[in-house]
């Protein structure tokens, strides 16, 4: 009897803590066969277009294009997931399927609101007054928005002007992550605008909070505070990308959904 107890104590605890801890598995073990593919997700609503992803993928799984007309009415369209098949050395062999979407699901109320706004676009179509609000940007987006009024981009050729007062505005063009200190001013500006009105979120920060994200001082993207009709990616979006997004918001241009070469 004593020997049995002694043996038990000497052996100690042998039970493994799985699943609290990872199972220890031999490298020779044969588990799930993988089809050797990899998924890569890019969120253009977060991207600052630094190009490091293309530099890091020596096998050209990601390449930089000259395309910039990325504005969309649906935040989910900015999230692209690509599936690649892999070579034996884990480099990319072939691009498989590309999916749009994931991210937060639109609520019904928001979709109904969007439909209502689409009829509004018909009303606002030709002439448009824009009120710009910097809700916390680094001023990079402002540099490009100001450029819309220069003789090269001249947004007035579309009958579009910037208004000094929100009471004269049809469109609210918002940049920056919405800071805690600007939330109220942004809301007040929006409320001061007459109906019908549209809201456009500009740049990575306006779409998602960008590099600043959400923190003690930043609430994140504009749609955390206001219903957003159109998102214009970029850091900052170049003037032509802004023009595309503004014209998209009033129904004068369509969305350009760039199609990746699929299987």
């Amino acid at each position: 009897m004593f020997k049995i107890i002694q043996k038990t104590i000497r052996t100690g605890i042998v039970t493994k803590a799985y699943p609290a801890e990872l199972a220890h598995i031999s490298e020779h073990f044969r588990g799930r066969p993988s089809n050797d593919s990899r998924e890569v997700t890019v969120d253009y609503g977060l991207c600052v277009f630094c190009g490091l992803c293309a530099e890091a993928s020596s096998d050209k799984a990601v390449r930089i294009t000259q395309e910039f007309e990325l504005a969309t009415k649906n935040r989910r369209n900015l999230v692209l997931t690509a599936e690649y098949t892999l070579n034996a050395d884990r480099t990319h062999r072939q691009l498989g399927t590309v999916r749009r979407g994931s991210g937060s699901v639109e609520t019904d109320a928001k979709i109904v609101g969007q439909k209502a706004r689409e009829t509004i676009h018909k009303v606002l179509g030709r002439s448009l007054a824009i009120r710009e609000v910097d809700a916390g940007s680094c001023n990079g987006c402002e540099v490009e928005i100001v450029a819309l009024n220069n003789p090269i981009h001249d947004i007035e050729r579309f009958g579009i002007q910037f208004a000094a007062s929100p009471r004269h505005a049809d469109m609210l063009l918002v940049t920056g992550p919405v800071t805690r200190n600007m939330e109220l001013a942004l809301l007040k500006t929006y409320r001061a605008m007459p109906e019908p009105k549209v809201v456009v979120a500009v740049g990575a920060c306006g779409i998602s909070g960008g590099i600043f994200g959400e923190n003690y001082a930043s609430l994140g993207g504009v749609d955390k505070v206001l219903p957003v009709d159109v998102y214009i990616p970029g850091c900052p979006p170049r003037p032509q990308a802004l023009i595309h997004g503004i014209l998209l918001a009033v129904g004068r241009l369509g969305e350009k959904l760039y199609h990746e070469r699929g299987r």
């Binding site: 600052v48 277009f49 190009g51 402002e142 220069n150 109220l184 003690y216 001082a217 930043s218």
Partner: protein, 525 residues
């Protein structure tokens, strides 16, 4: 240096503890007590030292105390002297310098708000960096997590100084302004048309930038540095990379240093020409702005050709620059410099030909040199008011040591002279650009980054187009930072605007404000 230290010891005894030269341009003086008023006074009188910036650091977990850092610069001395003074954790208070040195007014209050260290004796100790309706938090303390969710905003509670008297009104403006500019609140007290005084409230775009630097791995933090103030992306990016390079004791290849110099100067002329146009607009000379913004667009296209981005983003990196330039790019650069130079002369001739424009700009918004000195005004605004400062000349970096240029300084300090400084600087920059673009750009454009050791400090300064940009860092483990202090010249220069508008008519405020053109984001971070 040792005689300097001995002299200090003789004068201040045990208060000055030790001195260490971290690197050639950076000397740290460790003192034992947070009261450094006499020391700073002595340095200012004996060495004509200028207080560049003041900031704090939470070192409670490593050294049991907070530290205040006072960065000083002596006239004609290429070194920065950094006085480091402990502030006790159980008695978080330090004597304020603001009464004798109004230049540190906002910086000390920022320390109060962000670190919870009281600036005792501050003449106006109210909150500046956190608005009045914030709860009692100190976000840059180490025990305050970046992602903290604070209770919702509960409306304005800031009380402006009242303006009383017959016919005296207060005119509140902002934070949302009439034009496409950044948010800030201006409260004018006016008697008829003239402005009696202006109260400012900034930090509407505060987005936790300095705290966020403590979270990001260094290569990614470069992009955050580029987003401190979008119009100064390359200057802030370069200032940040230089700080890391100093910690890592890296030699940046000459080719990269020349390329950085070219891009820094392109950023300068791009913003200067835009400002010249905007000043003309604000006095009703719109056609001049049409030409100026056309010239700016020329440069934005050149920027894109050289770096892939109109704001020069995504080009600078720790160790150099991310891409070299081929022959075609260099040809575009040289052609653009020549085309711009001739167009720029035409633009200035056009503005000079308008007497009504000159009339509106001359003696408008005057900042007198003695005020500029007291308030510690830097950059374009400082040079228009007698402050003979330029980091490129006084603390050479990148490849500035290779080129000769003049630093324009005027004493009048009106809108017209702030514009003239810009005109002169564009011409000087064109000279630098011509010489730099003729250099043979061969060899490496980036060096390998060695492992970056933890707990090392470095200061880096860049003359951005607005003025002196300072980054100070302390590295942490795993390629992260412990602390990153950013000083954009805008923070120093806002008090100059308050001073310059007094007595001017309110209709001239836009042009006076534009002649300073400060960055709200750079101020608020």
């Amino acid at each position: 240096m040792s005689t300097f230290f001995e002299a200090l010891q003789q004068k201040f005894g045990a208060q000055v503890q030790s001195m260490s030269a971290e690197r050639e341009q950076e000397v740290y003086l460790h003192v034992g007590d947070p009261d450094i008023r006499a020391l700073v006074e002595y340095l200012r009188n004996e060495f004509q030292a200028r207080l560049v910036t003041v900031f704090a650091e939470d070192r409670r977990s490593a050294e049991g105390v907070f530290f205040n850092y006072y960065v000083l610069e002596g006239k004609g001395d290429p070194r920065y002297l950094i006085v480091r003074a402990p502030v006790r954790a159980d008695h978080p208070e330090f004597p304020s310098l603001s009464a004798q040195l109004p230049a540190v007014n906002w910086q000390e209050r920022e320390i109060q708000d962000w670190f919870g260290l009281k600036a005792a004796g501050h003449p106006n100790p109210r909150r500046v960096a956190l608005h009045d309706n914030w709860p009692d938090v100190h976000p840059l303390r180490k025990d305050f997590p970046l992602e903290t969710l604070l209770p919702p905003f509960e409306g304005e509670r800031h009380i402006y100084r009242p303006a009383l008297g017959e016919g005296v009104f207060q005119v509140p403006v902002g934070p949302v302004h009439a034009g496409t500019i950044e948010p800030g609140h201006f409260n004018f007290a006016v008697a008829g048309e003239p402005i009696l005084y202006l109260q400012l409230r900034m930090f509407y775009t505060h987005k936790g930038t300095e705290k966020l630097f403590e979270k990001l791995p260094i290569p990614k933090a470069v992009f955050l540095a580029e987003s401190i103030s979008g119009d100064s992306s390359f200057s802030h990016g370069t200032a940040f990379c230089q700080a890391i390079e100093r910690v890592a004791q890296m030699e940046v290849p000459l080719r990269a240093r020349i390329m950085r110099t070219i891009l820094l100067e392109l950023e300068r002329i791009c913003n200067h020409v835009a400002d010249i146009g905007a000043i003309a607009t604000d006095v009703g000379f719109v056609i001049a702005n049409a030409h100026a913004s056309r010239l700016k667009e020329m440069l934005a296209s050149l920027n894109e050709q050289l770096t892939g981005n109109r704001l020069l983003r995504g080009m600078v990196c720790v160790g150099g620059v991310r891409r070299g330039w081929d022959a075609v790019q260099l040809v575009s650069l040289r052609a653009a410099i020549d085309a711009f130079a001739s167009e720029f002369q035409d633009l200035i001739a056009l503005i000079d030909s308008s007497e009504s424009t000159r009339d509106r700009l001359e003696l408008t918004g005057v900042l007198r040199p003695e005020k500029a000195r007291d308030l510690g005004i830097v950059g374009v605004a400082g040079r228009a008011s007698g402050m003979d400062l330029d980091v490129r000349r006084d603390h050479p970096y990148a490849a500035y040591g290779r080129y000769s240029f003049r630093v324009p300084v005027y004493q009048i300090g009106d809108v017209s002279h702030r514009m003239q400084v810009r005109v002169d600087e564009v011409n000087e920059s064109l000279g630098i650009l011509r010489s730099a673009a003729e250099e043979s750009l061969h060899g490496e454009f980036c060096t390998q980054v060695p492992p970056i050791s933890a707990d090392r400090c470095a200061l880096s300064a860049v003359e951005g187009w607005r003025g002196e940009i300072i980054h100070w860092i302390r590295t942490g483990p795993d390629n992260h930072l412990e602390r990153c202090k950013i000083n954009d010249p805008s923070l120093n220069n806002w008090p100059a605007l308050v001073e310059a508008v007094q007595g001017n008519i309110i209709a001239d405020f836009p042009v006076i404000n534009k002649s300073f053109n400060l960055s709200y984001s750079g101020t608020d971070r």
